[in-house]
Symmetry: C2
Subunit: 308 residues, 2 copies
């Protein structure tokens, strides 16, 4: 496997993409803001900005853009699609942090939206970010071909809803409330839905935008599935081993909640080994793309090595 | 203006459409439910069914189907689009009822979702219904032409989000918390967003599905705007004059919250006159369609005459 891109190249590219994403997220919200000069819901708009601007690694948008780029697609349309996915991620953080859900006060080192604003605005800001994601994804500037836009809309909805992220969060809350610990198989299923589905859709969106063949798309989905699983184990390891100052959010939450994770089931060391195996699996899934996929390979390694 | 359809024809048709919608909503949720045989989020799915099945006049779907029918479009695709809009309406009721929002315990004569389940499930059920709406709207069986599906997705998102329903709800909450009463212009703007946008989109969706000309679409939008405004005044009149047993939800809420409505600003009689004027305006906007639009005319009159 060739290694034309170094880890520092990758970090520079991740930061460059995050900058582009930040700019476009702000621009999209600005455009939206001017629909209505009189009697505008300013506080809602402010909460939407607060929830989506000023931070985050922007890993999901990176996956969209890097997989599209690998297949020869780039430009403002790809960036818009990447931002649509990021808006969904941002909405999910706002709603997951609510008192009735995970009840978190801190996110990216800042008060969560319901703390900085209030609960009603946090609910509405999440709703509006989710809704806006489909506006952005479905609209003409995202792609000339409406069939591509419609496919992206449906894919995003499936990754986000009952069968994906929201369903995974419901399973997670049910598991916390239950006296019976989850079986390994159930933990994996839950995590594949809760965090895996959006990450997997990131590369799938890149595949759709880049006009991937069926085989290419299948390879990218295999990569996305392994990456998503590795990402979640790394997250669970960080929760068990890091501190709030490094994470920018509360640490040790899983143990405090008696949450079943691969760390609690396998132990820390075996969880680390499994994470490394999944990263290798993710890299292996990209074989057919040769060195063009080095950015995605680095992303898989980054997933495991990240500190927050 | 011809009167080929009578009021009882209209009621029969409204009920027939509601039956079709109920069936399709259930069918769509069933299809979605089988994505995942192992470890399914059953309680979330149950809450989504509870929130969307078993009641409601289904006025928004009726507007989609009746305006599409008037333009010669019907069938399962139109019904799916109508159901996508209804899922958004159902999600909005679930979230609006939450303790942090309007804090309602009763809806359609039954406990609200967060009462029948819990707050976390209510938030997630709303999120998942909203997300599912875009899945249904964007997917192939809704229309052969992906440009139509993408246009419907974007229109639905705009009617539902910051510039529409969610933004209107944010303005409404801000007004309740404010010491300064809203000006008439602000009340109208708020209501056009909060309830008007989805009703207007109903006929617009019908126009898109029916391949309306620009002039036809403009006429339908004018109808939708007047209908939406009439609907909201009628709602405010019902809140002021009806009781919980008839409404299936708490009555007298507006006065209890010192909410500015056209009833509180104009008084009951002037509000009734204005409502009737808006219904006449809605009917007038349909002139170009002759008797083909009688169903929509009846819908406008129904809006004013309804008891719940």
């Amino acid at each position: 496997m060739s290694q034309t891109s170094s880890s520092s190249d990758f970090n520079a590219r991740l930061i460059a993409v995050a900058d582009d994403v930040e700019l476009m997220l702000g621009q999209l919200l600005d455009e939206k803001a001017f629909f209505n000069e009189i009697h505008r819901p300013e506080r809602l708009l402010e909460a939407m900005r607060y929830a989506s601007l000023g931070g985050g690694k922007r890993l999901r948008p990176f996956l969209v853009m890097e997989s599209a780029r690998m297949l020869g697609a780039s430009g403002q349309g790809v960036l818009r699609a990447a931002c649509a996915l990021e808006f969904v991620h941002c909405y999910s953080l706002v709603h997951d942090d609510l008192p009735a859900m995970d009840d978190d006060d801190l996110r990216r080192g800042r008060p969560t939206v319901h703390k900085a604003f209030d609960e009603a605005i946090a609910i509405l800001a999440g709703d509006s970010l989710l809704t806006f994601a489909f506006d952005v994804m479905g609209d003409v500037p995202t792609h000339d071909n409406p069939a591509i836009r419609a496919e992206l809309v449906v894919g995003l909805a499936r990754a986000s809803g009952l069968g994906g992220m929201a369903g995974g969060q419901a399973l997670d809350l049910a598991a916390e409330a239950s006296a019976t610990p989850l079986a390994m198989e159930e933990i994996l299923r839950l995590q594949a839905m809760k965090t895996g589905a959006l990450l997997r859709f990131g590369v799938e969106a890149g595949a759709i935008l880049g006009g991937a063949s069926a085989a290419e798309r299948q390879a990218l989905v295999a990569y996305g599935l392994a990456l998503g699983a590795a990402f979640q184990i790394a997250d669970d390891i960080l929760d068990a081993t890091s501190d709030a100052a490094t994470l920018g959010k509360q640490a040790g939450k899983d143990e405090g909640r008696n949450k079943a994770t691969l760390v609690s089931v396998l132990g820390l060391e075996a969880a680390r080994v499994r994470c490394a195996d999944l990263v290798a699996e993710a890299e292996g899934a990209l074989e057919r793309f040769d060195s063009r996929a080095d950015g995605l390979r680095e992303a898989a390694r980054f997933t495991m090595a990240r500190k927050s």
